[in-house]
């Protein structure tokens, strides 16, 4: 019996049937002109088809402003303290017509950032968030140094380093 089983490759046929089934399924569905809602294959055609990110996705650190256009940050230094890799450094200062302390300098060194969101969690004033930007490659070390407005890259807008991706090329 075992001898016969060795001679007849039923096990191999079962495997071939499975891969063959998937071949047929993808072959006849992948190349329809219309994109099916229920995809039969698992390739995400990025960048043509945009990636769906979860609302909680942890991207690059971004600063927020309130309705008056004022920086929300009040320099409590909670984010600087909690940051496990010490990528945030803040210089406290004063600004005319503002009671709360004002960040004169807010440096964010993205090259060391590990995107853990501890800073956002520690912030009691909701003045920073992690946005959904994930195309963060850059050519220079300087591309990863972010600061307030007026510096070469500021933390209120999407990072220009993402410009090196194909998706950004398309937008321009």
């Amino acid at each position: 019996m075992g001898f016969l089983k060795t001679l007849l490759p039923g096990d191999i046929a079962a495997g071939l049937a499975l891969t063959g089934k998937y071949f047929g399924r993808v072959f006849f569905s992948a190349n329809r002109k219309k994109i099916r809602t229920q995809l039969k294959h698992f390739t995400q055609e990025y960048p043509e088809v945009k990636v769906r990110l979860a609302p909680r996705y942890r991207g690059r650190l971004t600063m927020l402003k309130d309705e008056q256009g004022e920086i929300k940050c009040v320099c409590c230094l909670a984010c600087e303290k909690i940051c496990p890799t010490q990528v945030i450094s803040i210089e406290k200062g004063k600004k005319e017509g503002r009671k709360m302390p004002f960040p004169v300098r807010y440096d964010f060194e993205m090259e060391r950032c590990i995107f853990c969101e501890f800073c956002v969690e520690s912030c009691g004033f909701d003045s920073i968030i992690l946005n959904h930007q994930f195309e963060l490659a850059g050519y220079n070390r300087e591309d990863f140094s972010l600061g307030l407005e007026g510096t070469s890259q500021n933390m209120f807008t999407a990072s220009p380093v993402g410009h090196h991706s194909v998706a950004e090329d398309e937008k321009r």
């Binding site: 191999i12 071949f23 993808v26 992948a30 002109k33 994109i35 055609e45 043509e48 194909v166 090329d169």
Partner: protein, 389 residues
């Protein structure tokens, strides 16, 4: 078959030969890159992904605007089945233009010679393969030099064609062994030893399984064998049994001969990094690559001709049940041959996507303990059928 009916001058013979050789070479040079593209696509589909799509299917380049527009409309780009097709040109260009590195401690002469041996053995085999047992077309009368001469479906009509093929095919392993030895590196060395042992073990059942068609057709001439086996003239209907078993044995050994999964021990990517061609780069590697795929085509062509009925429709000599007068299905056609070759090439890819790899000693085990006895029994059955019925 009287193919030499028309007398030819020496110039005509030489020119005709050159034309036929070039035709086959060009066909193979087109087939091989297409096969690598097919490999990406077929295996991709089997693994529920799309395979190569980026060339001529992406954002940029000539087709870029069209693709972008179609994506914007929420549609898969036109020609989506062929997206990524230019990758076969890109592959070839990459191999040709890449830096050709020869390791410092390598034996330069042999290192260079090895891929040439491999590729020459692989291409030499095509000389004796017949794609069509007669004239494909006749050059028109006004054609310079070769006017009025027939273009045959084979390069030469060797009367011991099969022996020639088997002999030349086993030369190919010298390329692997020498190249690996000349690399003066450890992983290639292991790969070459595996390859040598593998070829020795699998040459035997391969040849034995091919003896079945030889026995049944009573010839060694590629053309005559193909015709005799396909039409099944003078054969007992029982001949289908040894042919059927022989086909699977031959295919198994063919997989081993061409170093394909599940017998890809010589390169065994996850064990020996890249096996015998670890130290090769550029076009030298390209030659090994070319040889492997050319060998696949040869194995498929042989399986088609001897077991699957060659250029007739039905395999295993079943063609006898189709009246020869029937239009198209009763006639020999190059199309049938080509389709069957493609089918077997597809099987190569299919198996690659499905099966794990044997271990070195288990490969020997399968070869010596299972395939050789099986082929011997099969040969005995074939002999019995040939002479008793």
């Amino acid at each position: 078959m009287p193919s030499q009916a028309i007398p030819m001058t020496l110039t005509q013979t030489l020119t005709m030969g050159l034309i036929q050789i070039l035709a086959v070479l060009i066909a193979v040079f087109i087939m091989v890159p297409l096969l690598t593209f097919a490999e990406r696509k077929v295996i991709g589909y089997m693994q529920v992904r799309l395979g190569a799509t980026r060339l001529a299917g992406g954002h940029v380049g000539i087709t870029g605007p069209m693709n972008r527009a179609m994506w914007a409309m929420g549609k898969v780009p036109m020609l989506s089945l062929l997206r990524g097709l230019p990758i076969f040109i890109a592959d070839a260009l990459k191999l040709i233009t890449k830096e050709d590195i020869i390791p410092a401690k390598a034996d330069r002469g042999v290192f260079t010679l090895a891929p040439i041996i491999s590729v020459m053995a692989a291409f030499g085999v095509f000389a004796a393969v017949a794609y069509f047992p007669g004239t494909l077309f006749v050059f028109p009368k006004g054609f310079p030099i070769v006017g009025g001469l027939p273009f045959q479906g084979f390069i030469t009509d060797v009367n011991v064609g099969l022996l020639f093929i088997l002999g030349l095919a086993s030369v190919g392993v010298y390329g692997i062994v020498l190249g690996a030895w000349a690399s003066n590196s450890k992983y290639p060395l292991l790969g070459s030893l595996r390859s040598a042992a593998q070829i020795i073990s699998y040459e035997v059942p391969l040849t034995l399984s091919l003896l079945v068609p030889v026995l049944l057709s009573g010839s060694l001439n590629f053309k005559d064998m193909a015709v005799a086996l396909a039409t099944g003239q003078g054969l007992s209907p029982l001949a289908i049994i040894p042919l059927f078993i022989g086909f699977f044995i031959y295919l198994t050994c063919g997989f081993a001969e061409t170093n394909r999964v599940p017998f890809d021990l010589a390169e065994a990517e996850t064990e020996l990094v890249a096996g015998f061609h670890t130290e090769y780069s550029g076009m030298k590697f390209g030659f090994f690559y070319l040889a492997e795929y050319a060998n696949m085509i040869v194995v498929s062509a042989l399986a088609t001709a001897f077991f699957l009925g060659g250029h007739f429709l039905l395999p295993f000599g079943l063609q006898r049940f189709v009246p020869a007068s029937a239009p198209f299905i009763g006639q020999p056609s190059f199309l049938f041959f080509f389709l069957k070759v493609c089918l077997i090439l597809f099987a190569f890819l299919w198996v690659r996507a499905t099966l794990p790899r044997y271990r070195y000693d288990q490969l020997m085990d399968v070869g010596w303990k299972w395939l050789i006895p099986l082929t011997l029994v099969n040969l005995f059955v074939a002999a019995l059928i040939r002479f008793a019925f």
